[in-house]
């Protein structure tokens, strides 16, 4: 398999992020929630990335924050994909009223801006990770629904699906064995993009004070905690911002690659 260098970089970085997220508790040099130094120390031998506004170790918080960020974004994306693609495939395969109802509900949900729904919901619901994941996942599932439905529609008219139906296969086989394997590539690529949007969305929510709650912090929350230092070149704010960008870029690179593989599978002209 030929992997272009950009995708390779993306894969390696994504791997590093995931590794550090999984083994966060082993990798953290200090407790993420206890002050171990003074405010905003610069990088040093003891604190590789310096300390934050109340003297906590940035590297430890970055690792822990990465775990939270990736966990929440991943869980929300998985939820939105499970919901979105299930209903999307169902709509495409069933057609008729099922499709109409699902599609109109989706239109309805999309018409109300998700950030605003999130703001309103999160301002009244108890703030914890489960609620956060649920809200984000459900809101995002509309986008996945649209894509999954469109992709499945294209596949559902293929003759091999017709052949399976004519054979008398039940919809379980049609969805999971005929459609899903062929819809996977565009969905995987979309998963990468939605994951990134989820990361950015959590950051935004944290910025507005409705995201992950302290002393835990996602990267967006860390930027927020330290944002006043941004104008003074304090690394505490730059490092998590950089981490977000790096994660986003590397996942995007991988997604782009998956997507380009998909389209080359479909074949260009000639």
């Amino acid at each position: 398999m030929r992997i272009p260098p950009s995708a390779l970089i993306g894969l390696i970085l994504t791997g590093v992020f995931i590794f550090s997220a999984i083994f966060a508790d082993l990798l953290m040099p200090y407790a993420y929630d206890l002050p171990v130094g003074t405010q905003w120390e610069g990088p040093s031998a003891t604190h590789w990335l310096g300390t934050d506004t109340i003297g906590r170790d940035i590297l430890s918080r970055l690792i822990k924050g990465g775990q939270i960020t990736i966990f929440v974004a991943l869980a929300a994306s998985i939820l939105s994909f499970a919901m979105g693609s299930f209903f999307g495939f169902l709509a495409a395969v069933s057609g008729g009223w099922t499709d109409q109802i699902l599609s109109r509900v989706c239109d309805l949900m999309m018409a109300i801006p998700s950030l605003i729904v999130a703001l309103v919901l999160l301002s009244v619901l108890p703030l914890n990770l489960t609620v956060l994941i649920l809200v984000m996942g459900v809101l995002d599932s509309t986008r996945v629904f649209r894509l999954a439905r469109a992709v499945a529609m294209d596949i559902a008219v293929m003759e091999y699906v017709e052949a399976a139906k004519l054979r008398g296969e039940k919809w379980g086989w049609v969805i999971f064995r005929e459609i899903l394997p062929n819809a996977l590539s565009p969905l995987v690529a979309e998963f990468g993009l939605r994951f990134i949007f989820a990361v950015l969305f959590i950051s935004t929510l944290s910025f507005l004070g409705l995201g992950v709650q302290p002393p835990l912090a996602d990267w967006g929350g860390m930027v927020k905690e330290n944002k006043d230092g941004l104008s003074w070149g304090i690394s505490a704010a730059l490092v998590p911002a950089l981490a977000i960008a790096l994660l986003a870029i590397s996942v995007n690179l991988v997604a782009d690659w998956v997507l380009s593989r998909t389209s080359s599978l479909k074949g260009g002209r000639g």
Binding site: M1, R2, M158, E159, Y160, E162, A163, K165, L166, R167, G168, E169, R177, E178, P181, N182, S264, L265, G268, R269, G270
Partner: protein, 550 residues
């Protein structure tokens, strides 16, 4: 041959491309291995071969154009005495559209859907500053008229989708001739058309070439077609020249075995079986698509005995594929009944028993889309075994291998994916899948249309053998009369949703004909010089025109 300097001279042309086989490292493949082509001004050279022979690639190389990442890596291409293989893009832009123009197989796809025809036809003349806009438009109208297009004055103001396929193909020819090029490449210009349409377009192209005196490369896989227009024919195979000669010599005295095979293709003979009680009986079936107001099937009544083949013939839009959908229950008829094996079938496939579904299998035209690209051949063939007969594990694998043997594919195919197979192999796998269900009836929907003639012959032979072995009945849908002759016991000729002629093969193919059947039969190109002129002359004399307002 004259001593005049040739218009186009290609020497030792080598063309390569990179292929990306699934699961393997990309590799270089050579598409054309050192081919020489010489074309004098005003002459027509036919390039013929199966798919993959490199004929289109060679044709496009005369514009130094490599389609889809194809690279012209070796040899010389001299156009009007100038080497163009390694010319700069700017130089090539001067040549393309001015000295050499191109007519593609699918005019429908080759016109920009969002621009008016006239703008596209005269675009080259204007961008190359060959003539002024009024001059170009006048020339375009002249060409439209010459090519026999209806209302030549106004057709240019239409959009591509407002014009039929045959007309578009002629407009595209006009587009190629408009800037007064030295050379036109015709790349399968009539292949996508119905036979009755093809003959008119072919005649129009031939006349236009003669009138304008332009040189042409005529690329096709159909020897009978190229024989009508070309002065010389080059037979290509696997990117190499097989034989080059005058049209007369190639058709009548082919030297190479391969050429002989091409000439004698469609040589399958099949004696029709006698009348017998029908396995499948269709009574007064009409059908229409949801949301439309007209019937696409009108009162169809036909029958098919067990172990026999009923060929349903017709052009595109005749309703022959819709008939297949009605029989399978994908499009429940609005009227009429379908009897199978002595019982009435539920109109909708969802209402049919698993055994009913098993008894009627279907094979599609495009084997590519008929197989799930994410399943192995073993799964594709094995699934009906599992589904209908509950075969599992080694019993299933054994049966899969038996079926593979039956379709003359060897060991090791069960683990491959469809993308790793050739076109003919794919269609064979589809046949095996149908076979796996042990059906009494197989509906074959244009199963050979997408295949090269020799490969198609192989498939037809296989089908006949299988029929002899298993006594399956075939409902064989096709537009190709040669195929019909080869395989049918009974024939139904369809036109605009109706059955125009139905009966035993020998009856249907014998005069007296109705108008449509006559037109259809007489439009099938015959592999002899002068056939085209004869038919056109005959039609002019009789005042008959083609069936469609092409």
């Amino acid at each position: 041959m004259t001593s005049e300097k040739p218009l186009l001279e290609i020497r030792g042309l080598v063309i390569e491309a990179t292929s990306y086989p699934p699961g393997e490292a990309p590799k270089n493949v050579t598409l054309v291995h050192g081919v020489d082509v010489t074309l004098q001004k005003g002459r027509v050279l036919g390039l013929i071969g199966e798919s993959g022979a490199g004929k289109s690639t060679i044709g496009l190389s005369s514009m130094a154009y490599g389609r889809g990442g194809v690279r012209l890596t070796g040899g010389e291409i001299l156009l009007n005495g100038r080497e163009i293989r390694e010319a700069r893009p700017a130089t090539l832009r001067q040549i393309r559209g001015r000295e050499v123009t191109y007519v593609s197989q699918s005019a429908a796809a080759s016109f920009n859907p969002s621009k008016r025809l006239m703008d596209q036809v005269i675009e080259t003349s204007l961008s190359h500053k060959i003539m002024s806009k009024p001059e170009a438009e006048a020339r375009a109208v002249m060409l439209f008229r010459k090519l026999g297009l209806p209302s030549p004055e106004t057709i240019g103001s239409r959009y591509p989708h407002q014009v039929s396929g045959g007309q578009l193909q002629r407009v595209m020819t006009a587009m190629a001739l408009c800037p007064k090029p030295d050379l036109v490449i015709f790349d399968e210009p009539t292949t996508a058309l119905d036979v009755t349409t093809q003959i008119d377009v072919l005649a129009a192209i031939k006349e236009a070439i003669q009138d304008t005196g332009v040189a042409a490369l005529y690329i096709t896989h159909d020897l009978a077609v190229v024989a009508q227009v070309a002065d010389e024919i080059m037979v290509l195979r696997h990117g190499k020249k097989v034989e080059l000669g005058t049209t007369d010599q190639i058709i009548n005295r082919p030297a190479e075995d391969y050429t002989k095979a091409l000439v004698s293709v469609r040589g399958i003979e099949h004696d029709e079986k006698p009348e017998a009680p029908p396995l499948l009986r269709i009574d007064c079936v009409s059908a229409r698509y949801a949301g439309t107001t007209f019937d696409v099937l009108k009162n169809i009544s036909i029958g098919l005995p067990a172990g026999q083949t009923l060929a349903v013939v017709g052009e595109s839009g005749s309703g022959k594929s819709t008939l297949a959908r009605a029989i399978t229950g994908l499009l429940p008829p609005t009227k009429g009944r379908i009897h199978f094996d002595g019982r009435q079938l539920s109109a909708d496939f969802a209402g049919r028993s698993r055994d009913d579904l098993r008894q009627i299998q279907m094979i599609y035209q495009m084997a590519d889309t008929a197989m799930n690209p994410r399943q192995t051949v073993g799964t594709i063939i094995g699934r009906p075994l599992e589904f209908y007969f509950g075969l599992k594990g080694s019993a299933r694998d054994k049966r899969v291998q038996e079926l593979l043997d039956q379709i003359e594919m060897g060991r090791g195919f069960a683990d491959r994916y469809p993308a790793e197979l050739s076109g003919g192999q794919k269609q064979r796998v589809c046949i095996a899948r149908a076979l796996a269900a042990k059906p009494k009836l197989i509906i074959c929907d244009e199963v050979t249309s997408a295949l090269d003639p020799l490969v198609a012959d192989g498939i037809l032979k296989l089908l006949l053998e299988l029929q002899a072995e298993t006594q399956m009945a075939y409902l064989f849908i096709t537009h190709d009369l040669a195929t019909v002759r080869a395989i049918a016991d009974k024939i139904a000729v369809m036109y605009k949703g109706e059955v125009r002629r139905y009966g035993q093969k020998s009856d249907v193919l014998a005069p007296p004909f109705d108008d449509y059947t006559d037109l259809l039969l007489s439009s099938v190109p015959e592999m002899r010089l002068g056939w085209l002129e004869e038919v056109i002359a005959h039609r002019k004399a009789n005042g008959t025109t083609s069936g469609n307002t092409v």
